[in-house]
């Protein structure tokens, strides 16, 4: 294990963390403002990945594919919000879990009907397929650099939107105390519709960007939903800043665990045991992180509720 390998893994971890942040930002606002648990958020991520892969293959334009994925997913989410999610606000978490789990089942079959059961091959844009020489001895995938850049750009944009615009102020007011915001004359339900669509756009962006470096397949939404939920719990439900820090933490811990733990364990333990223990510890690292945070700060790192 040398310095180059470590830097490379840290960059990978940051990239994964930023993509998690795109998912978690929408999830945490939906949860924070309307107290609504939306398990189907992962399905929007899946939709983004599939549409982007399809459009990219058909048109050859990656930027066009990402934009099409975002537009189509926002449209789907708008229907979803009007038809189902809006009616779930006044219900308890359990009803929300059940209904949005139902949406997952419908979405998985819908994707299967449209694209078939086998995974889709999403290709990188040809201009970014090669490596970039970051340092003299550190070649790094140009596409992963794009991921980092896009993630940071969106995070900065979201920061400006939430903290320095009027709609952002309404969003924060809704997340910190919905009843009070409503009494002050804020149409919190409209703010929420906006936030839900924004969350869908971010999820679709994450799916479109992650497609070429992960598997575009049915069930990808369920797989990434759990880390995203872990992120919003660590960050504090309703806090975008918390989600950002927690997403980077989770991304780093998860990637570092997978990359560094097995070789470290091999150095101190018998090989057979290390081969079993390494992946197990790497897999549970982020859950241990969440448990540790919840023990120290039961409402997460940056609780949004007043």
């Amino acid at each position: 294990m040398d310095a180059i390998f470590i830097i490379e893994q840290i960059l990978n971890g940051l990239g994964y963390g930023l993509m998690l942040f795109l998912l978690a930002a929408g999830l945490t606002l939906v949860f924070g403002i309307m107290d609504t648990m939306n398990l189907a958020h992962g399905s929007l991520y899946m939709a983004g990945a599939y549409i982007a892969a399809q459009v990219h293959q058909a048109s050859g334009s990656f930027v066009g594919a990402v934009l099409a994925a975002i537009a189509a997913t926002v449209l789907v989410s708008w229907l979803l919000e009007i038809l189902i999610v809006r009616r779930l606000y006044p219900r308890d978490h359990l009803a929300q879990v059940i209904a949005t789990f139902g949406i997952i089942l419908i979405a998985d079959d819908g994707v299967k009907a449209l694209w078939g059961p086998s995974p889709l091959l999403a290709s990188m844009p040809t201009a970014l397929a090669g490596p970039v020489q970051l340092l003299a001895e550190l070649p790094y995938s140009a596409y992963r650099l794009l991921l980092l850049g896009a993630g940071l750009l969106v995070a900065a944009g979201l920061y400006l939107l939430v903290n320095h615009t009027r709609i952002g102020m309404l969003v924060r007011a809704g997340a910190s105390n919905r009843a009070m915001a409503e009494l002050m004359g804020v149409r919190v339900d409209r703010v929420f519709s906006f936030v839900f669509a924004l969350g869908a756009a971010l999820a679709a962006l994450a799916g479109a960007l992650m497609g070429p470096i992960s598997a575009v397949q049915i069930g990808m939404g369920e797989a990434i939903l759990i880390p995203a939920l872990v992120v919003i719990v660590i960050g504090g439900i309703g806090s975008v800043r918390g989600a950002f820090i927690a997403a980077l933490l989770v991304g780093l811990v998860d990637t570092a665990g997978r990359a560094f733990l097995p070789p470290l364990l091999r150095a101190v333990l018998p090989p057979a045991l290390a081969a079993d223990l390494g992946p197990a510890l790497a897999g549970i690292a982020m859950y241990l992180l969440m448990a540790a945070v919840l023990i120290l700060k039961p409402a997460g790192l940056f609780p949004a509720r007043a």
Partner: protein, 317 residues
């Protein structure tokens, strides 16, 4: 006013038990042999669902990690069979104990949180167990483990009839169901419901809130472990997918569509959900979306579960 149930309502559970007990004898002549295994599977899942219904419906604990305990039970059986144990009863008992022990540790930590944090932390623990099972290469890792050596029931039961496991499962399911019904109307059950409805008041009345909830959680975990052990005997195969989080969600779904905190909620939900899946799979490979639609409809149209539709004006017990 609450009417006493008629003779039909009182004898219905016994009729159900009788027909379930006779089913394997009649199945060959009706050409329904396949469904003996199907119902055996239903009965096992019903045990897990009933245990979840107990902590969720009566205790108000929204746990999204119950399949973790099912997996612990199943993997205990795997470990024992791999180590050369052949007694089914011994392996199942060990599974109950190990799952109970896991539930004690997980419950002790999780029950200090509430609401959505409880949901998340139980989910996190079951994900940890899932990752642990995936990395156990001695037991097949991700590919799972086939139980080649059969577990023996002993006392001449094993060769008595090909469906003897079915009757054992039926007897255990019936016993557990009766026990959970009794427990629900015991002092303990009422205390648990009181805590669900008003924790502060129950604390003021001097009930040890945390200990009662933990006891219920451990009991439910142990029963889920038994279900996992029986599932291992039923399938003769165990893989980490039994603890995937969607399995926990499916258990939750079955309890809610059946009827949360209702005596027949667990069994009704399991029977409805798994039978529907089985029937839909006969006709189409797209069997998930109608089930998803059913979930959305039930949340909006029958939020108290399908059992409540048959209750009429009577209040649920």
């Amino acid at each position: 006013m609450k009417r006493a149930p008629g003779w039909l309502a009182r004898s219905l559970p016994w009729l159900l038990l009788l027909s379930l007990a006779l089913f394997p004898l009649l199945a060959p002549s009706l050409d329904l042999d396949y469904y003996v295994g199907f119902i055996r599977h239903l009965l096992i899942v019903m045990m897990a669902a009933t245990s979840l219904n107990f902590i969720l419906g009566y205790g108000g604990m929204v746990a999204l990690g119950h399949s973790g305990f099912v997996g612990v039970g199943a993997y205990t059986v795997v470990a024992l069979v791999d180590g050369g144990v052949t007694s089914a009863w011994g392996a199942w008992l060990a599974a109950v104990a190990v799952a109970g022990a896991f539930a004690a540790v997980i419950g002790a930590v999780s029950l200090r949180t509430r609401g959505v944090y409880f949901l998340m932390i139980t989910l996190a623990f079951s994900q940890m167990l899932h990752h642990l099972a995936v990395s156990l290469s001695a037991y097949g890792g991700d590919d799972g483990y086939s139980l080649h050596a059969p577990l023996l029931l002993g006392v001449g039961l094993d060769d008595a009839h090909p469906h003897v496991l079915y009757w054992v499962v039926l007897a255990l399911a019936a016993l557990l169901f009766t026990f959970s019904c009794r427990l629900a109307v015991s002092r303990f059950g009422y205390a648990l419901r009181g805590i669900r409805d008003n924790e502060t008041r129950m604390a003021a009345l001097g009930y040890p809130i945390y200990r009662i909830k933990l006891a219920a959680f451990i009991g439910a975990g142990a029963v889920a472990g038994l279900a996992g052990a029986l599932l291992a005997s039923h399938n003769k195969f165990v893989s980490p997918s039994v603890m995937h989080w969607t399995e926990s969600a499916t258990l939750l779904v079955m309890v809610v569509i059946g009827g949360l905190g209702r005596r027949w909620g667990g069994p009704a939900g399991v029977a409805l959900w798994l039978t529907l899946a089985e029937v839909l799979k006969l006709y189409t490979e797209y069997w998930r979306w109608p089930m998803g639609l059913l979930l959305v409809l039930i949340v909006f149209l029958a939020p108290k579960g399908v059992v409540s539709l048959f209750e009429g004006p009577r209040r649920a017990g």
